[in-house]
């Protein structure tokens, strides 16, 4: 069953901070989720291959040609970021 430690672990892996209260609330919900999906254990899947995708394999590969039309101007590349400098994305005084 899912524990507080499990929640901390997945929160760490998915880069989400959680307060103690968040963890408590999440625990409840995730335990519920686990219970709900437990029914899958009843399905007989002996010899069944996983279904990774419902579409057929790719019809064609992309030809190795530069697509100038799709390349963005640098202004467009940087338009949505909070900090930029000399055409780079910028992070302030990162300590790691």
């Amino acid at each position: 069953m899912i524990s507080k430690e499990d929640i901390k672990k997945v929160a760490d892996l998915s880069m989400i901070n959680l307060s103690e209260q968040d963890i408590k609330c999440m625990e409840e919900k995730l335990v519920e989720s686990i219970q709900r999906v437990e029914i899958l254990g009843q399905a007989n899947t002996d010899g069944v291959e996983p279904l990774l995708q419902v579409h057929e394999p790719i019809e064609e590969f992309r030809k190795d040609l530069v697509e100038v039309d799709y390349i963005l101007d640098r202004e467009e590349v940087l338009v949505n970021t909070k900090e930029q400098q000399y055409g780079y994305f910028k992070l302030l005084n990162i300590m790691d």
Binding site: I2, D6, I7, K9, V10, A11, L13, S14, M15, I16, N17, L18, M26, K29, L30, E32, S33, R36, V37, E38, I39, L40, G41, Q42, A43, T45, V48, E49, P50, L51, L52, Q53, V54, H55, E56, I58, E59, R62, Y70, L72, E76, V77, V79, N80, T81, K82, E83, F89, L91, N93, I94, M95, D96
Partner: protein, 482 residues
């Protein structure tokens, strides 16, 4: 005459016949949007650009140029479909100010056919949810009854269409997110085959199941937009050429019935905790299909009971992957509080993602842990095959399958959005379609009924023509005679 009261087809015709200008069409809808603001169907209204475009279309028509099949028709898009220069928020604080530098392919297709993009509709945050209550921009209300939820996650789109703020709208459907709100709002919603419409520029939720869907007030309108969008796109590797053939020769002006059509209906429909009214209406609907010549037979699908669990595992796993890119660095919300990159990621995600989204990410991460992957994720992939195979088997025997779209009618706003059991159950008839990658349509049982009930028809891959015919036939029947 209220020009918003007619079908999209008629709007287009009247525009071509110069009975109404594109500018008038846009203004009439803008007026409704203003009046019905409290429904909160829209996150962004594209007023200036739409009017500008309408003007250009009016001039184009006057010049005698050939017009596209959507000419003059205002169309709205769920706000997880990228629009160049128009913010695309996904209903999240994370993307509150994000302005895509590119258009989704569906946007290009609509514009190429002279459609007018007039607004971006509300949704559950990142399309995760089924009530349109988890949007950072507030809940959307149901125009049938303002106290009810609109359904979701494409609630903004179905509300806009129902309340005549827009004749046509695009949504996305990952587990029922077009069909369920269509059912709740008494409009038509189609989820096409996986790969039938380009997903390029459509923000992924669970990318092996996501599909753009179309919402309209009638089947004919809906098929018009659907046909325009069913095109192979070289920018989406999962888009297929055969999509273009499906509706090519379909005549939507003919009268259809169910003669010679084999319809499969679940024998055990009683097991799914249907609301009384849903059970009653569905029974009537089956009677009507029979009366229209349909060969209805009872079927059973053993794997269906696993569908919600299977969907929950796979969709959350994919959500945890697809939402990993929102880290506050290149675009989107960035926390002010950080001293390390890890803090930047953690704080930005904590501050800008909603509760339900975080929950799904955490659960999706959990099922993918080394120690859990086999038990949950891989098991679900195998069950997915069982479900897909069973649908495939049924659809080799029947032209269409018929179910209620949802087991219940919409609940009251604010009452159940946190109740995962109800949310979970409400997906039972829709999620299997996405797991199998096939197509389905939801048609209102009775458009005028106060308690909205939708009837779902399901068809095999790239058989949208069967859905349209079934939808047209069903729509043509008279429920009052039953």
């Amino acid at each position: 005459m209220d020009i918003t009261n007619i079908s999209a087809y008629e709007m287009h015709e009247k525009f071509l016949n110069e009975e109404v200008t594109a500018v008038e069409l846009v203004n009439a809808h803008l007026e409704n949007m203003e009046k019905l603001k409290e429904l909160n169907a829209f996150i962004t209204i594209n007023k200036e650009e739409a009017l500008e475009r309408a003007k250009i279309l009016d001039e184009k028509l006057a010049s005698g140029a050939e017009m596209g099949v959507l000419a003059g028709i205002p169309i709205s898009l769920k706000d997880n479909i990228s629009t160049k220069g128009i913010r695309t928020t996904c209903g999240s604080k994370m993307l509150e100010n994000y302005i895509p530098p590119f258009n989704a392919t569906v946007v290009e297709l609509i514009e190429a056919e002279d459609g007018i993009i007039l607004g971006k509709t509300n949704l559950d945050e990142f399309a995760i949810g089924s009530s349109t209550e988890s949007s950072y921009f507030g809940a959307t209300k149901n125009p049938v009854d303002n106290n009810l939820i609109a359904g979701g996650s494409s609630g903004g789109s179905t509300v806009a269409v129902k309340s005549r703020q827009m004749p046509l709208s695009l949504g996305t459907d990952t587990g029922g997110s077009v069909r369920q709100p269509a059912s709740y709002c008494n409009v038509v919603g189609i989820k096409p085959t996986y790969g039938a419409i380009s997903r390029f520029g459509v923000v992924s939720m669970a990318n092996t199941m996501d599909q753009v869907g179309v919402v309209g007030r009638n089947v004919r309108d809906t098929s018009l937009l659907l046909k325009t969008l069913m095109k192979k796109d070289t920018r989406d590797g999962t888009s297929y050429k055969k999509s273009e053939e499906v509706l090519k020769n379909l005549d939507v002006n003919k009268n259809y019935d169910f003669k010679g059509i084999k319809v499969g209906v679940l024998k055990t429909i009683g097991d799914y905790k249907l609301d009384e009214i849903v059970a009653r209406d569905f029974e009537k609907a089956v009677e009507m299909v029979k009366s229209l010549g349909g060969q209805v037979e009872e079927i059973s699908m053993d794997s269906l009971k696993y569908a919600p669990a299977c969907y929950h595992v796979l969709s959350t796993a994919e959500v945890s992957s697809n939402l990993a890119r929102f880290d506050g660095l290149r675009y989107g919300y960035r926390s002010e509080k950080y001293e390390t990159t890890e803090e930047l990621f953690r704080n930005s995600r904590q501050e800008a993602l909603g509760k339900e989204v975080k929950r799904r990410i955490l659960f999706g991460t959990y099922v993918l842990l080394n120690e859990n992957k086999k038990e949950y994720y891989e098991k679900a992939l195998k069950v997915r095959r069982l479900i897909a195979d069973e649908y495939s088997e049924m659809l080799s025997k029947y032209d269409v399958l018929m179910t209620p779209t949802t087991p219940t009618i919409p609940f009251e706003l604010g009452t159940n959005s946190d109740n995962t059991e109800i949310q979970y159950n409400s997906d039972i008839f829709t999620v299997g379609v996405n797991l199998a990658g096939i197509c389905a349509i939801s048609v209102p049982f009775d458009k005028e009924e106060a308690a909205p009930v939708g009837i779902q028809f399901i068809a095999n891959k790239f058989e949208e023509d069967k859905l349209i015919k079934a939808g047209l036939a069903f729509e043509g029947g008279n429920v009052d005679e039953l």
